[in-house]
């Protein structure tokens, strides 16, 4: 295999990985929606799970050139760091949670948009 073929193969592999990222992320949308619904209803047990998801989306979204996903996920993660790392007394509960859910909904929209405009999903 010459250099041109190797480079073409690399680009092909990276495109496959990017598609895999989108497919997996799309599959996680129902869980994200459920977590946001629980948080909106006042159930904070999903915050830690949402934090893990947002952190992963922030890094992998940027890595695979989905800047909008990464940015929205970063906003969710930053808000969660404040909420999870702060005592309940100093958190503006309803306001902060409402901001978090709004950011989360924006993340859902960005993932949906990337899925619609990204590589074809099999």
């Amino acid at each position: 295999m010459d250099n041109f073929d190797k480079q073409a193969r690399l680009q092909e592999q990276l495109a496959e990985i990017r598609e895999s990222f989108l497919r997996r992320t799309q599959g996680e949308l129902p869980l994200l929606g459920e977590l946001l619904g629980r948080i909106e209803a006042g159930d904070s047990t999903g915050l830690a799970q949402l934090q893990i998801f947002a952190h992963r989306m922030r890094g992998s979204g940027a890595t695979f050139d989905f800047a909008a996903i990464s940015e929205s996920a970063g906003q969710v993660e930053n808000l969660l760091e404040l909420l999870v790392g702060t005592s309940a007394a100093s958190v503006d509960g309803p306001h902060d949670l409402r901001c978090l859910v709004e950011c989360g909904r924006r993340l859902v929209l960005e993932i949906g948009a990337a899925t619609a405009h990204g590589p074809t999903l099999g």
Binding site: L14, I17, G59
Partner: protein
């Protein structure tokens, strides 16, 4: 020259795979771990020449992995390159103090990552075959 082995520690399978294909293209061998505990175990087993470490890991974060590696008499000598989406202002100094050789913010620039890897491995020349471009994608 022996092929250098790099341990990739990240809980995201797509990021692991993306790094693997890029590093393989650039002439490196790879092995993987997904959390802090398996990082230390894999480092013992595979004896990598360098470790690329994410900070946001399940079952203990990347700092726990650095602590585990630095406690070991031989593993402590392996250069660690931290690659994280976490805020660099809050984590870079801590990572370097803990013993990391470098801290790169995700999304990582591939040219920069390769340069840091080569520096960590003491390689003055690219690890690719002569005449081949070192950094792709």
């Amino acid at each position: 020259m022996a092929i250098k082995k790099i341990l990739i520690v990240d809980d995201d399978p797509d990021i692991r795979e993306g790094m693997h294909v890029r590093l393989k293209y650039n002439g490196y061998d790879t092995c993987f771990a997904t959390d802090a505990l398996s990082c230390v175990a894999m480092a013992r087993k595979e004896e990598p020449d360098l470790i690329i470490l994410d900070l946001g890991l399940p079952e203990g974060d990347g700092f726990l992995a650095i602590e585990g590696l630095k406690r070991h008499s031989t593993l402590k000598l392996i250069p660690i390159v931290v690659v994280s989406a976490r805020d660099a202002r809050a984590n870079q100094e801590r990572a370097i103090k803990a013993g990391a050789a470098a801290y790169l913010q995700k999304p990582v620039d591939n040219a920069e990552l390769l340069a840091v890897i080569r520096k960590g491995l003491g390689q003055v020349a690219p690890a690719v075959e002569p005449g081949k471009t070192a950094v792709i994608a």
